[in-house]
């Protein structure tokens, strides 16, 4: 009896789990379309000004994705992610000046070194949570900012720090040979970002993703399922730090010159606000967050509006999102669009509503 039941269950349920459903196919189509557009159309359609901004979007989408893993998947709020980004940028810049290694190798090394340091930043997460973890990571980020102001970013000098204060003509951070021009480097950044998204997607769809979901909802339940919560929390920090470090490496080449003043500690807070607005629970949210963080200021700048307004705008935005769409824009906008679509469809089907019907 039981055997028959289990066999029919196994037979009947094979298909829904294996066959990609319509939703997945639609998502795949959208992703392919967006990637093709980003890769081929954007460099043709837009001016250099916006292409540079889009390079930043690619970089920051990966940073936002890293924070999304911590906040959205595991439930750990880190306010130190921009500091982690600067570690990646510093390491990459130092390696690019010191060696002639191929660019992808440098990105990988920057990612790995940042992963080690970022995981150390994550150590307090094993004891602290919520506000306290946020506070500790913010203070660590602040401490790092102080160190960076003193040491500066490498500018082609010698020694461990690679900073030479006496030079007048400082060297630019090099770019890969295949991506010297801005549009080519933009494409390069898009490809790297896509690879980082893929890396995270693989994590989310497999064992770590399931463990993170359990930890986020209930640590006792996770432990009772045999999940080593310490390991998986550190794993999340390691993954987030790795991709953020790689993003830092891409950033180093994108801007050519790095200054500590461009990475104020409060950037991490703005980053969290943008991630919450975009949607911390979805990977799309990371892209939305990056657009808010990098494209929006570029647009405002172009229109002659001070980007300082963004702080107020983000404040209102976070309030709005937390009260009406807690899963962020990436979740809410498609819902609203489909509602609008149904509404329009309904209007077209009934072009002349009967006057007597109050509805």
């Amino acid at each position: 009896m039981l055997d028959t039941a289990s066999r029919t269950a196994a037979g009947g349920q094979r298909s829904p789990l294996r066959r990609p459903d319509r939703r997945t196919l639609a998502q795949l189509a959208v992703i392919t379309g967006l990637l093709l557009f980003a890769f081929f159309a954007t460099p043709q359609l837009f001016s250099l000004y916006y292409i540079d901004a889009m390079t930043q979007v690619a970089v920051y989408s990966v940073v936002a994705l890293g924070l999304g893993v911590l906040v959205g998947r595991v439930g750990m709020v880190s306010l130190g992610q921009v500091a982690v980004l600067t570690i990646g940028a510093w390491v990459a810049a130092r390696l690019l000046f010191a060696t002639t290694q191929p660019y992808p190798l440098v990105l990988l090394e920057a990612g790995v070194i940042t992963m080690v340091l970022g995981t150390l930043i994550g150590l307090p997460a094993l004891r602290l949570r919520g506000l306290y973890l946020a506070l500790i990571t913010l203070m660590l980020a602040g401490a790092l900012a102080v160190v960076l102001t003193t040491t500066n970013f490498p500018n082609g000098g010698h020694g461990f720090l690679g900073y030479d204060a006496s030079t007048v003509h400082i060297a630019a951070i090099r770019r890969p040979a295949i991506a010297e021009s801005d549009p080519a480097y933009y494409r390069y950044a898009v490809v790297v970002a896509a690879l980082m998204f893929l890396l995270v997607l693989i994590h989310i769809r497999t064992r770590p993703g399931r463990a993170w979901a359990a930890i986020r909802q209930s640590e006792p339940a996770a432990l009772a399922a045999g999940i080593n919560t310490t390991l998986y929390k550190l794993w999340a920090f390691a993954l987030a730090s790795f991709i953020t470090g790689v993003a830092g490496g891409v950033l180093a080449g994108a801007v050519h010159y790095l200054y500590s003043i461009t990475f104020p500690t409060q950037e991490s807070i703005t980053l969290l606000a943008a991630v919450l607005m975009g949607g911390a629970y979805s990977m799309w949210g990371a892209i939305v967050a990056a657009l808010l963080l990098q494209l929006l200021p570029a647009l405002l700048n172009n229109w002659g509006v001070s980007a300082d307004w963004l702080t107020i705008l983000f404040g209102i935005g976070v309030l709005q999102v937390l009260t009406t769409a807690p899963r962020g824009l990436a979740d809410q906008v498609p819902k609203d669009l489909s509602r609008l679509g149904r509404l329009l469809l309904g209007l077209r089907r009934r072009p002349a509503p009967s006057g007597s019907d109050p509805a």
């Binding site: 039981l2 039941a5 269950a9 979901a213 209930s218 080593n228």
Partner: protein
């Protein structure tokens, strides 16, 4: 078989378990007692969430207390919670598969084991549906499926029928009764529903204020004077 001896747990000045000694042999055993008697604390000691002040627990020849908490689940200690803990973000299948993959069991049999556990508890929901979409009773069953997948040795059920309507409680009772035979595990059931306990458990132990006051065949234990007094609260009223 698990042998508990002299188990004592203190939270500050409160003694939650006071030298509890008991042996659970096999099959499905009941553990009952008034609110605050220490039943959930006992489960928390077995799962490793609470470190006892004194006492030993030997489970199937192993010293359970020396094992790290998450390793106990991999070894075979499984449990459900008083407030059910279906992981909402995950599908029904992944909720169960999560336990299987952490237990380091064969990947080849995972699919079959997981679907087997889901059908064993009689959960009719689509395995690819998110747990958040399930009804309360289905979520309870999903938690039981998580507890029986793979090779559990000890299944701890903490008020699994709380808040369920009678019909679903009856179904859950049948599932619980079938656990030892189906999985080979020893099951311990904590519940306030005496008809569920008498329907499922051959033997029952009774806790009151952290002390074991009775244990033995369920029918006899439920007629025991001390047990009735503990539940009705008429003992030693000053």
């Amino acid at each position: 078989m698990i042998e508990v001896s002299g188990l004592t747990v203190r939270f500050g000045g409160v003694t939650s378990l006071d030298g509890m000694s008991v042996t659970f042999d096999s099959g499905t055993c009941g553990l009952i007692g008034p609110n605050g008697a220490g039943k959930t604390t006992f489960f928390n000691v077995l799962s490793g969430f609470v470190r006892p002040a004194a006492g030993t627990v030997r489970a199937f020849g192993e010293d359970l207390l020396s094992m790290v908490h998450f390793r106990r689940a991999r070894w075979g200690v499984r449990r459900t919670f008083q407030t059910e803990q279906a992981i909402e973000e995950l599908s029904v299948f992944d909720n169960v598969a999560m336990v299987h993959e952490q237990a380091r069991l064969s990947r080849a049999s995972r699919r079959q084991d997981v679907l087997g556990a889901i059908s064993f508890v009689g959960l009719g929901a689509d395995p690819s549906a998110r747990a958040a979409t399930l009804a309360a009773g289905e979520r309870r069953l999903l938690e039981v499926a998580r507890a029986v997948v793979g090779r559990p040795k000890l299944v701890l059920l903490d008020e699994p029928a709380a808040g369920l309507p009678d019909q679903e409680t009856r179904h859950l009772g049948e599932v619980i009764r079938a656990i030892p035979e189906h999985t080979g595990a020893l099951a311990i059931l904590v519940d306030h529903d005496m008809s569920l306990v008498s329907a499922c458990c051959e033997t029952t132990a009774v806790l009151d204020f952290g002390k074991l006051i009775a244990s033995g065949p369920t029918a006899g234990v439920l007629r025991d004077d001390r047990v009735i007094r503990a539940y009705l609260g008429t003992a030693e009223v000053a």
